[in-house]
């Protein structure tokens, strides 16, 4: 019996090792590649370490792109989460005349690709002066995040018993108060998970950013990265360094939140 357990453990260990390799190897490649020159990247046996790629990308404006991305994405995530919590709450707690239609309309935002939005939105933005502006991008990203945020939050809210807010309201709370003081603390993991999704979506979006942000001072990280896939050639060293800089903040954001991410994800799909 102990031998079987040992072999079982051995198999698990091997599987775990293989899984870790699969998950982490590309990240290792990014970091090690970011410190090599274009030459050594392609040569077989040479390996010179250099920080030149990082210097090169920050020279090319990556610092600006980083701060732009942070500002736009944090603001959009906050806005989308707040607005989605509000909407999901009434979708969950109230039955009103247009509920079904409106909810379907909101969720329907997930059904089509965003590329089709680029041209009409560009015309709208250009006419209202929202191109090359933080507010334009924030509004845009908020809009894109709302459909799935409302859907996820609704699912999560369904698992929070209505008795909780009803009890709070009997005690004299306004509905808004009940949401803020009672329901929100309980659904916090769901909110965190949803906000994380929204953040990642905004952080990596590049089609809309490409059309609306043309001034170098306004560009975001994905645009900066994309620039290195040039017409004549690809600067792989810079691409690796840029990839590292683009991934690191998202990873650093996830680490402290990871416990909440797991419990927040299953939402209403686990408990009916």
């Amino acid at each position: 019996m102990r031998l079987r357990a040992r072999i079982g453990d051995g198999a698990i260990l091997l599987t775990a090792a293989a899984t870790l390799g699969f998950l982490l190897y590309p990240a290792v490649v990014v970091f090690s590649g970011s410190m090599q020159t274009n030459e050594t990247l392609f040569a077989r046996n040479r390996f010179d370490l250099t920080w030149d790629n990082y210097r090169h990308i920050f020279d090319a404006g990556f610092g600006t792109y980083l701060s732009n991305s942070l500002a736009i994405c944090l603001a959009a995530t906050l806005a989308a989460t707040v607005v989605s919590v509000m909407a999901a709450y009434v979708f969950s707690r109230r039955r009103f005349r247009w509920r079904r239609v409106l909810l379907t309309a909101v969720v329907a935002g997930q059904w089509f690709p965003w590329i089709v939005l680029v041209t009409p939105l560009f015309i709208l933005f250009a006419r209202t002066g929202l191109t090359n502006s933080y507010s334009g991008m924030i509004l845009c990203y908020t809009a894109i995040s709302i459909p799935f945020s409302v859907y996820l939050l609704l699912g999560y809210l369904e698992t929070v018993p209505r008795e909780l807010d009803e009890a709070a309201m009997v005690d004299g709370c306004t509905p808004l108060g009940a949401l803020w003081h009672v329901v929100l603390p309980v659904m916090l993991p769901g909110v965190v998970a949803t906000a994380t999704y929204a953040f990642l979506l905004c952080w990596t979006e590049y089609l809309l950013a490409l059309a609306f942000l043309t001034q170098p001072a306004m560009k975001t990280l994905p645009l900066g990265l994309y620039q290195f896939f040039g017409e004549d050639t690809t600067d792989w060293g810079a691409v690796m360094a840029g990839s590292a800089v683009t991934t690191l903040p998202a990873l650093l954001l996830f680490l402290p939140l990871q416990r909440w991410l797991v419990s927040g994800l299953t939402a209403g799909s686990v408990k009916q």
Binding site: D9, L23, P26, V83, R94, F96, L225, F254, L265
Partner: protein, 306 residues
């Protein structure tokens, strides 16, 4: 005495609902509804990016007829529905389930690897798709990529394989990239579902003499099936409409081999400058996903809007 208070509450409540819904509805109306309506209008015209200012002339359903009647169209639909969506969703569900089971296993806890594995899962998830494609294009590169170097060194192949250019390997390569980038979502969702299975049930089954496979099939799986179905639906929505992975990995090539609906939208609109045709494909995609969503939910017996 009570009646007037209730009436006031009812109206106040209506105001409350309206105020809570207004921000999201307004934002969606401006940034989603209006462009989508524009898009539907574009699809009924011959609008070209070259004549954006003049606008396009109404041509009815000609764009749709042209698209649906095209010889290539159904192959593109097949690429999108089967290779891009179905295969990748199934792979992610199966792999995600396996990883979730691994993470949930007692053995892993014993070996104290659970936290490390959970953290490792975050790395692919936090990687933006553009980075994921860039890294995997590098790994799959014929001359310099790690995978080819490993294959050559192990003697498994005599010449480097151009994964992203060889028709036999290009779709698996694209699916691999997508799976790497998004399997953590599936894994963590399924893990949470697994952890919500009441232990008494599986313990009781074990006492009755059931093996772990039996327990999984008859106790665990039914319990987490709703999660799996919802996850499958969400992944389908996200994948069917996806543009970035295919475009950055192969540019819909070689030839037109990996052309999917989203890349068609791009090619027609931004390379051929035919916005009308591009918009029509977008509408077709929305209708397809909408139909899928509504039917799926009805078949499941669960209502999205219940």
């Amino acid at each position: 005495m009570m009646a007037p208070a209730r009436r006031r509450t009812a109206r106040a409540d209506q105001v409350f609902v309206t105020l809570m819904l207004a921000p999201s509805l307004l934002i969606l109306a401006a940034f989603y509804l209006y462009p989508m309506a524009s898009n539907v209008w574009f699809s009924l015209t011959d609008l070209s990016l070259m004549k954006l200012r003049q606008g396009g002339a109404y041509i009815g359903l000609a764009n749709y007829a042209d698209a649906l009647g095209g010889a290539d169209f159904w192959r593109v639909v097949w690429n999108t529905a089967f290779w891009l969506t179905a295969v990748s969703v199934v792979v992610r569900l199966v792999l995600g389930m396996a990883l979730a089971l691994l993470l949930n296993s007692a053995a892993l806890l014993r070996l104290r690897l659970r936290t490390l594995m959970r953290l490792a899962l975050l790395v692919p998830w936090a990687t933006p798709p553009i980075v994921a494609v860039a890294v995997w294009r590098w790994l799959l590169h014929p001359q310099a990529g790690g995978i080819n170097r490993a294959l050559l060194w192990l003697g498994l192949t005599r010449h480097p394989i151009a994964f992203l250019a060889d028709t036999a390997t290009v779709w698996p390569a694209i699916v691999l990239i997508m799976v790497w980038n998004t399997v953590p979502v599936a894994t963590l969702t399924l893990l949470a579902a697994l952890q919500s299975v009441p232990r008494e049930l599986s313990e009781a089954a074990a006492l009755d003499g059931a093996g772990s496979v039996r327990i999984f099939r008859h106790v665990t799986l039914p319990h987490i099936m709703p999660t799996i179905m919802i996850l499958a639906m969400l992944m389908t929505f996200w994948t069917f409409n996806n543009f970035v992975y295919v475009w950055l990995a192969t540019g819909a090539g070689p030839g037109r081999y990996t052309d999917v609906l989203a890349t068609e939208v791009y090619l027609r609109g931004f390379v051929d400058f035919n916005l009308g045709s591009s918009a029509a494909i977008g509408v077709i995609m929305a209708v397809a996903m909408g139909t899928f969503g509504l039917l799926y939910v009805r078949v499941l017996g669960r209502r999205v809007a219940s």
